[in-house]
């Protein structure tokens, strides 16, 4: 199942032991630079770098990575088309007739669509880099240091654990239903899903009550405390990151007026 997949990879990849704070800072700030850049150049550089780091340094299985990238790429293509038609100002690139209407796509829209697409790629690859190399269990420490309110962190930590317990239960029940030919058509599917969800809900509720009992047995008094903390990353690495960011921002500034279509046009 997918949930377990990301979690398993995060716990077993080759960059697992790199300081999690460093990974968080690196990917988040890079992500911000990506989102704020005005041309497709920097987002593409970031995408290439992040894909490289994730696939070839962390050794994340390529097949799964492609699956994760599939949906955003699909969305990206739709975005380009959508933007082309929404921003139908300026010189039209081409026009099509649809139900008697003439809809035209604009150059400006395509450029904007491509920009959003590239930012999306950069953003997704940065996020994937973080989530595929850093286990959630370590992100909790980072969240704690970011002063995320304790209640929220407590709930998140318990949720993390029970997501996997409940998923297991859900899949087992689903298999039991499939064995008895549930999900055969739309009506049996709804009947099965309804039973699945309600059965799971009831068990979830029971589980919550039992959990309070077992926690009370260990002197639970209302709040969870996290033991230990994560070291700060070495200054050298932070410095290297900073240099990297400065380079990115510079490239971003230099290439801010770059337009792909114009570039192609001028080429021919």
């Amino acid at each position: 199942m997918l949930q377990n997949t990301v979690d398993n990879i995060a716990h077993c990849n080759k960059l697992r032991n790199v300081n999690p704070k460093l990974k968080v800072i690196f990917s988040i700030i890079t992500l911000l630079i990506c989102v704020l850049s005005q041309s497709i150049i920097v987002p593409l550089i970031i995408t290439i770098l992040m894909v490289y780091l994730t696939l070839f340094r962390a050794n994340v299985p390529k097949k799964i990575y492609l699956q994760f990238m599939g949906a955003p790429v699909g969305f990206g293509i739709i975005t380009v088309i959508l933007m082309a038609f929404i921003y139908n100002q300026g010189a039209p690139l081409f026009s099509i007739g649809l139900f008697g209407f003439k809809i035209s796509a604009s150059k400006y829209g395509v450029e904007l669509g491509l920009l959003i697409f590239s930012r999306m790629l950069g953003g997704v690859s940065s996020t994937l880099f973080l989530t595929l190399t850093t286990p959630m269990t370590e992100l909790f420490f980072v969240l704690k240091e970011l002063k995320v309110p304790t209640v929220m962190l407590d709930i998140a930590m318990m949720m993390y654990r029970y997501v996997f317990v409940l998923l297991d239960e859900m899949i087992r029940t689903e298999n039991a239903q499939k064995t008895r030919v549930g999900y055969r058509n739309l009506s049996t599917t709804y009947k099965s899903l309804g039973m699945l969800a309600s059965n799971l809900f009831i068990r979830t509720w029971d589980r919550g009550e039992v959990l309070f009992t077992t926690m009370s047995s260990r002197c639970y008094n209302g709040d969870l405390k996290i033991l230990g903390k994560i070291e700060n990353p070495k200054i050298v690495y932070l410095l290297m990151c900073t240099i990297f960011w400065i380079i990115l921002i510079s490239i971003s500034y230099i290439t801010k007026d770059f337009k792909l279509l114009e570039y192609i046009n001028s080429y021919y």
Binding site: V151, M159, T189, G194, I202, G208, Y220
Partner: protein
């Protein structure tokens, strides 16, 4: 940038939810594990594949059910964590759009569901009420998304753009919202018996 603004607005609502949770937990410490597993349930529910008559599939948000059970402000907190987990455990949805998603799925949706629930409660069979609440919670979530997208990318003619986005999100989501309503109703039917 709009993504920052959505973060801010969502932050205020979530903070309110946290204050409420703090109060709840002070009064009943046993509700903490309960709410945590309920949150896990919400996440797991969202991984179900819900087919609809049109042949398409969607993932239920569970935000309507959350709103009915815990009220909108607690649901906002749970939805925030669910969305964070979707980003980190499923690689669904990015971190930059998290603020906007919390606003649509964690705040507007639950508020809509909760309002429906409050205003119809007692006036008809509770299963119907819950079903409508879930349908509206889901539907409003997507209407909000359409509005958010229009704000971010108004295009040459904002009204035209809005209608395009509403066409994509609100109209196509109707059968899926009904699907979620059906599932939630089936679920509620069983819970009621307890």
């Amino acid at each position: 940038m709009w993504c920052g603004i959505w973060y801010l607005i969502s932050g205020v609502f979530v903070a309110h939810g946290i204050i409420r949770l703090n109060k709840i937990f002070k009064e009943n410490p046993e509700s903490k594990p309960l709410i945590a597993v309920a949150g896990a349930f919400m996440f797991v529910l969202s991984s179900l594949k819900l087919p609809s008559v049109t042949g398409s599939c969607s993932h239920p948000c569970g935000n309507g059910l959350g709103a009915v059970l815990f009220g909108p402000s607690v649901t906002a907190v749970l939805a925030t964590i669910v969305l964070l987990f979707q980003a980190t455990l499923l690689a669904h949805g990015g971190l930059t759009t998290l603020g906007a998603n919390i606003f649509s799925m964690g705040i507007m949706g639950p508020i809509a569901g909760w309002l429906v629930f409050k205003s119809l409660k007692g006036k008809m069979n509770s299963t119907w009420v819950v079903m409508l609440a879930a349908i509206f919670a889901d539907w409003v979530t997507y209407i909000t998304t359409a509005v958010q997208l229009t704000i971010a990318y108004p295009g040459a003619d904002p009204m035209n753009t809005l209608s395009i986005f509403l066409g994509i999100f609100a109209v196509t989501q109707i059968p899926l919202a009904i699907a979620e309503g059906l599932l939630t109703a089936l679920l509620w039917d069983k819970i009621k018996e307890l």
